[in-house]
Structure formats: C-alpha cells, structure tokens
C-alpha cells in the first residue's frame, strides 16, 4: 500500500500557535531534557566505574557523591522530558502515535524499565552500608535499563520517520510486539546518541569540580581533570559514531548536511566545532593555574553544541517526513490567553526554581533542629 495513504491525518483541532513557535519549544524542551538525561547517564557510568576501579580516596568520594546525585538529576530529567513529548504530539502526533503503536509493547516497557531503574538508583543513593554489593548490583541494573530505554527510543524515533514501513509491519503483526531492527541507521544513531550522552554527561563531574573548587581546590581540580578526561575520550568516540551515522543515511538526506541545505550544513558544522572547542577548552583547563574559566567555557560550549545537534536532529526528521505530510496545511487558531499564561509562568517558574536553589544552598541561618 502507498505509504502516504496510511499516514494518519493531522488532528482536526487547529494548532494553538504557529508551527515555528511550537517547533522552537520542541527543540528547547528536547535540549533541556537531553542535557539532564546526559547528566544522569554520565553520573551513573562514572559513579559505577570509579567505585569499581578507582584507587584513591578521591575516586571513592567522587563515586559516592555521584551515586547520591543521580536520583536528584533523574527527577528533572524526566520532568523536562514531558516538554518534547508534549510538543511532538502537537506537531507530529500523527507520526509519533503511529510508530509508538507499531512497537507498543516494547514502547510501554520504557515505563516499567524507568520505574525499576529509578528505584535502583535510590538504593545506590540511600543504602546505609556503602560497602554493600547491593549498591553495585542496583546501579549496574539501572545503567543497563537506561541503555535499553535509549535503544527503545531510537527504535521509535527511526520508525517515526520511515512511514513506508508502517503498513507492512502492522499487517504482519498488529499486536505491537516488534522493534525497528531492520533500520540501517539504527546502530549508528544509537551509538552516536549514547556516546554523546555519556560524553556530555561526564561534564557533570566537571560541574561538581567547579562547585567544590573554592573551598577544596585540590579536590575541585581532581574532579575537573577526571570528568574532563572522560569527556575528551567519549566525545571523540561519539564523533566517530556520528560520522558513521551521517554516512549510514541515504544520499539525499546525507547531502542536506553536506552542502545542499545551508541551514542543515551550518548547524552540523557548528555542532561539531562547538564539540571540538569544548574538548580544546577542557584540555587547556588541565594546564591552567586556575582551571575554572576554561571549565566553564567547556560546559557552555558543549551545551551550545547540544543545541545545534538538536537542530540537526530536528531538520533530519522534517526532511524524512516531508513527503508524507498531507496536502492541507495545518490550521492555526491562537489560544492567546492560555499561551500568555504559559509563557509568563514558564519564565517566572524558572526564575522561582533558581531562587529556590539559591535559598537551598545559601540558607539564611545555620542548621538548627
């Protein structure tokens, strides 16, 4: 059957704002989500690694503080995930719902895996006997489950952009007990996303270093160097996998980022260059007398790199699904009042969260019972 014929029609309810605005919110939400998720992945991996192979007291201290951080990082990571989930359903619901139904059971498993992983991290964080093997086991389980969740996401996101597969998949098995394993870009995309996530996530250790530097410069420097090394090596691997991903794309899509589309090409180039600049900054920080400025630069450069990579990802999806959009343009009817309230609350809410952080980390009075 003609793939275009099975792609569901867009919802008859008009969009509540212009497409560009919703798309900006989608990308922004994705960036916030992925940065927090990267932090969780980096903290879990490095926390476990230093627990197993760390030889110095600093390693052990780092491991423990990472294990304690993961749960507090995962909460905002999940919460930020709601934003792209919301806006992808508004803009591309007819694609997203369909690909999800086709792999329904594995997709639903994400929730169960996340629940178990989350509680496992709490065991790693709260268990009183820090030498217990239960901590190793539970955090390792969480890490494995995170890898599985990422794999399921890549399955869905690649199926979302390939409607030509849908009808045959559905007719062969409408029970949703399958994955998108035949996708040629799957492994490269998965490897790239995961390695990049671990790479950026390892900067969480650098951020911890910046937090500690003023009071404990030696420990702060240790964290900046330790996290920085992880960042350099894994980001290097992520770039290799990224090129693998680029060249696993069929020519028309690959060319979008190799000159055919100025926007796509510049976005990809900026993403790569910002990543390289972040590597340069952090490696220079190792030699600097006061590494803080360069460490901050690495954090900011890599966050900007993530923004441009998110734009590349967005462009790629739009290019894939462009032929399947039904002729009628999506109608728009602004919901001015609710939209204004949302934006006002969004800005005030983020400012209020910042104020809460300030109040939490700088209590007005010393601790009392």
């Amino acid at each position: 059957m003609n793939a275009q014929a099975v792609v569901p029609y867009a919802d008859p309810t008009p969009l509540p704002a212009a497409v560009w605005l919703l798309e900006v919110l989608l990308v922004l939400g994705f960036v916030l989500h992925i940065l927090a998720i990267n932090g969780v992945l980096g903290a879990t991996l490095i926390g476990l690694w230093t627990r197993w192979f760390g030889e110095t007291p600093e390693h052990r201290r780092l491991s423990d503080s990472l294990m304690h951080s993961t749960t507090s990082l995962l909460s905002p990571a999940i919460t930020f995930g709601i934003v792209p989930l919301l806006f992808i359903q508004v803009l591309f619901g007819n694609f997203f719902f369909t690909s999800s139904v086709l792999i329904a059971w594995p997709w639903l498993m994400v929730i169960a895996l996340l629940l178990v992983a989350y509680y496992s991290l709490y065991i790693g964080s709260w268990w009183k006997n820090r030498a217990s093997k239960l901590i190793d086991l539970s955090v390792f389980l969480a890490l494995v489950f995170f890898l599985l969740i990422a794999f399921l996401f890549v399955n869905n996101m690649t199926l979302l952009i390939t409607p030509e597969k849908w009808f045959a998949m559905y007719i062969a098995d409408p029970t949703g007990m399958r994955l998108n394993l035949s996708e040629p870009t799957l492994i490269f995309r998965y490897a790239h996303m995961l390695l990049a996530a671990f790479g950026v996530g390892s900067l969480f250790v650098v951020a911890l270093g910046l937090f500690h530097f003023k009071k404990e410069p030696d420990y702060g420097r240790f964290l900046i160097e330790h996290g920085g090394r992880w960042f350099i090596y894994i980001t290097g691997l992520a770039m290799v996998a990224g090129f693998g991903f680029l060249f696993s794309l069929s020519a028309p899509f690959r060319q979008l980022f190799l000159g055919q589309s100025a926007f796509g090409t510049i976005s990809l180039l900026l993403g790569i260059m910002l990543g390289l600049a972040a590597i340069f900054a952090i490696s220079s920080a190792f030699q600097a007398k006061d590494p803080r400025r360069l460490a901050w630069a690495a954090l900011i450069l890599s966050a900007l790199g993530v923004v441009f990579m998110a734009i590349v990802r967005d462009r790629l999806r739009d290019a894939f699904i462009a032929p399947y959009f039904h002729a009628a343009p999506l109608s728009v009817r602004y919901q001015v009042g609710p939209m204004a309230i949302f934006f006002a609350l969004f800005i005030l809410g983020l400012a209020f969260v910042a104020y809460m952080f300030g109040r939490f980390f700088r209590p007005e009075r010393p601790a009392s019972s």
Binding site: F97, V101, G349
Partner: protein, 439 residues
C-alpha cells in the same frame, strides 16, 4: 481508524484502567501529603516534640519514594498508555489543552524541586526555610491538580465547549469546581491513609498513639468534607448520564455502590485506628489503605463508565469516530462513515471491498476498527462470551442487534454501528464465527 488499532488480546481498556488507578492513588497523595507534611512539622515545632519530628523525617523519605518516583513515572505512564490505546482521543486533548499541559508542567517542575529540597533540607535548613519549602511544594502540587483537573473533567462534561470550541469553556466545565473540591478533600484524606502505614511501624507507644490519632483525624475529617463535594459533583453531571449510575447500567451502578461501601469501610477502619491508637496493628493500616484504594479505583472506573460510549462526551466515541461532522475530520464521523463505508475510509485495512467470500475477513477488520477499543477476543469484555450470555448465537440475531447498538436497554453505552449495510453484515458474519468457534 485514522491510527492503527493496537491489538491487545486481553483488551486494551483494562490496561488504561490499571495504569490510571495506580497513578491516581499516588498523585492525589502527592497533593494532600504536602499539606500533611507542613502542618505536622509545624505541630511538632509548636509542641516541641522531637519524636514526632523524627517520625516525620522518616515519613518524608517514604513520601519522596512514593510520589517523586512512582507518582511521576506512572504519570508519564498513563500518558504513554492512553496514547497507545486512544491516539485520536489523546491527540484531541493535546491539541485543545497544550498550553494547560504546559502550565501544569511548570507547577510540576516546582513541585519536584521543592519535594527534593524539603527532604534533603531536614539537616541543612533552618526551621523557617524548611517549612517554606514545604509550603512551596504543597501550593505547587495543588496548582498542578487545579490545572489537570480541568482536562480530566472535560472528557466527561465538555459543557459549552461543544457549542463554541472555546478552550476556557472546556477547562472550566460543569464538573470542574465540584471535582476540584472532591479531589482536594480526597487528597487530604489520602495523606492520612498513607501516614497510618508508617505510623503503624513505630515502636514508641506514646509516639505511635499520637501519630495514629493525628493521621486518623485527617482521614475522618476529610472523608466527611468530601461527602457534600461528591454530592455536588453528581448534581453537575447531566441527569441522563448520571441515570446510568443510578440503576440503568449495572457496571456503573456497581461502581457507584462500591465507592460508597469502600469509603464507608475506610472511614470505619480509620475510626477503629483512632480508638486503638498505640495498639493499632499494621494490618489495620493496610485495611484502611486497601479500602481507600478501592474507593479511588471505583471512582475512576465510574467516571470512565459514565463517559461511555464516548472518550470525549458528545464529541468522539470510544472507537475514535467523531459523533458529528467536523471541519478537517476527513470523513471519520458517523454520518459520513454510514454513507461512504468504514473500509473505504479507514487507513489501516487490507480489505476495501466486500464479497461473499471475504465476509469474515472484512468483518474481522471492522471489529478491530470499531469494537476492539472496548471488547476483546478472549480477554476483557470478551465479545464471544458476551454474545453467548445474551443468547445471540445466530447471524440474523447478531445482525439485528448491530442495528440498535446504541439503543439496547441496560447497556445503552455502545456507539452506534458506523458503516454501510454490507459492512454491518460482514461484521455479523465475523461475530457469528467467533461465537460458534468458542461454543
């Protein structure tokens, strides 16, 4: 039919029910529990009771594990599940209320951050600042309920929105305020229900007596306050719909009775706990917990049943067919489908034309498109079992009933059959084959 129908052998509806109930039971605790934490902390400071404070620290750890983890993840889970089972309905809700979902998200973000700071702040913050974080948590959690309540109630009572499609009319719909009051009191009562669990673990008899009495009062007082709110809620539902719960529809009536019975039992068990105080066994706390769970589950079930045959009342049927034509619905509405045919309109079918030799296959596809949102083949609301129970085993009888699906006494909660006469015949042949193969 615009989207592929997820074929779940045991019935996809039950999946939504399970995920929804386990989420709602915790998400309401997350709201009421916030107020419980701050008022109990204030009480401990006022009475200079370090024992009560120690218990509260333990209870707040339990609170974080239940609400921040289970509540948050199952909240995403219910969204995941409805999107798989009812993509068209979910799409409608998202399109209508995207900014409201966004507003709810802002409150949820504040709620989560405040909850963690409240918990980790026990040893770090002074009393005043710590209480401040508790209040921030509670206000954000209640505002989250304030926002999501409008979307949930919209599905049952969209009110004037059906006439003018104005989003504020959909949000502040006829059951909005009674539901907000009812859910608020329910959440405060649940705070006491959960506290009774950790209270029952206490070893110190004096402390245990104090915490059990305090927690029981939360259950008893709020259960009483919820009664007028529940009555107001029932009065806000259109009388014709509410008639189902008052006897017309057995399943709705059973759920309504179960709410009353479970709530009464929760009240009685909580009262016994108040009387026993320091002698309250864990099993009694668990009985309060189970009765409260049954109350919440029955309430959610009743709301779902009352909404039938719609997923959004008066707008979209449970099988994703629009009840009236809409601009841009591409013919996925009842009158057009009756005229044009389901198989020619739907996206995900193999059989477009019906002949004598493909009747059953065509009927199977129509069953998936129109019936499988509620019925299954061998699982929940098994169609074969239901037809046999009603002694509808022959093709002519089944064909006849398909013509009056929305007019069957005692179960007038079915959408009307959508499609041509030939399609109705094909479905009747398929259903006959199901009944006969199982008999």
């Amino acid at each position: 039919m615009n989207f592929p129908v997820w074929d779940v052998w045991f019935g996809s509806g039950i999946l939504i029910a399970i995920v929804a109930v386990v989420h709602v039971f915790v998400s309401h605790f997350a709201v009421g529990g916030g107020l419980f934490l701050v008022l109990t902390e204030r009480k401990a400071y006022r009475e200079n009771d370090s024992g009560l404070l120690s218990w509260l620290k333990l209870h707040s750890a339990f609170f974080v594990l239940v609400t921040v983890v289970w509540g948050a993840v199952t909240g995403v889970g219910i969204w995941w599940t409805i999107a798989l089972v009812h993509p068209q309905g979910t799409s409608a809700l998202i399109h209508i209320f995207v900014w409201f979902f966004g507003i709810e998200w802002v409150f949820f973000l504040i709620e989560i951050v405040a909850a963690l700071m409240y918990y980790y702040g026990w040893e770090k913050l002074d009393r005043r600042t710590h209480l401040w974080f508790g209040w921030v948590y509670f206000i954000a959690a209640w505002m989250s309920l304030f926002t999501i309540n409008g979307i949930i109630d919209f599905m049952l009572t969209p009110g004037k929105w059906l006439e003018d499609f104005q989003v504020w009319n959909g949000f502040f719909n006829p059951t909005y305020f009674p539901s907000l009051f009812f859910r608020s009191f329910l959440s405060f009562a649940l705070a006491g229900v959960y506290a009774l669990i950790t209270a029952a673990w206490q070893k110190d008899p004096a402390l245990k007596a104090k915490v059990v009495r305090w927690s029981s009062i939360w259950v008893l007082l709020n259960a009483i306050l919820a009664i007028p709110a529940a009555y107001w809620y029932t009065q806000s539902i259109p009388p014709a719909v509410w008639a189902f719960a008052k006897g017309t529809l057995p399943a709705a009536t059973h759920s309504a009775m179960l709410i009353g019975l479970s709530a009464f039992l929760a009240f009685v068990f909580a009262f016994i706990a108040w009387l026993l105080a320091k002698r309250t066994p864990l099993v009694l706390s668990l009985l309060v917990f189970l009765a409260a769970f049954s109350t919440v589950a029955s309430f959610e079930l009743l709301r779902e049943i009352l909404r039938k045959p719609y997923v959004i009342f008066g707008y979209m049927y449970g099988n994703s067919i629009y009840s009236v034509p809409l601009d841009g619905d591409r013919g996925l509405n009842l009158p057009t489908l009756n005229e044009r045919g389901v198989l020619r309109t739907a996206n995900w079918v193999q059989t477009r034309e019906i002949h004598e030799d493909n009747m059953i296959q065509a009927g199977r596809e129509i069953f998936r498109l129109e019936c499988q949102a509620c019925h299954s083949l061998g699982g929940y609301r098994d169609i074969g079992w239901l037809l046999r129970r009603k002694q509808l085993t022959g093709q002519p009888a089944i064909l006849a009933i398909l013509g009056v699906l929305d007019k069957i006494p005692t179960s007038s909660v079915m959408p009307p059959f959508a499609g041509t006469a030939k399609e109705k015949e094909a479905l009747s042949h398929f259903l006959t084959s199901v009944v006969q193969s199982n008999s």
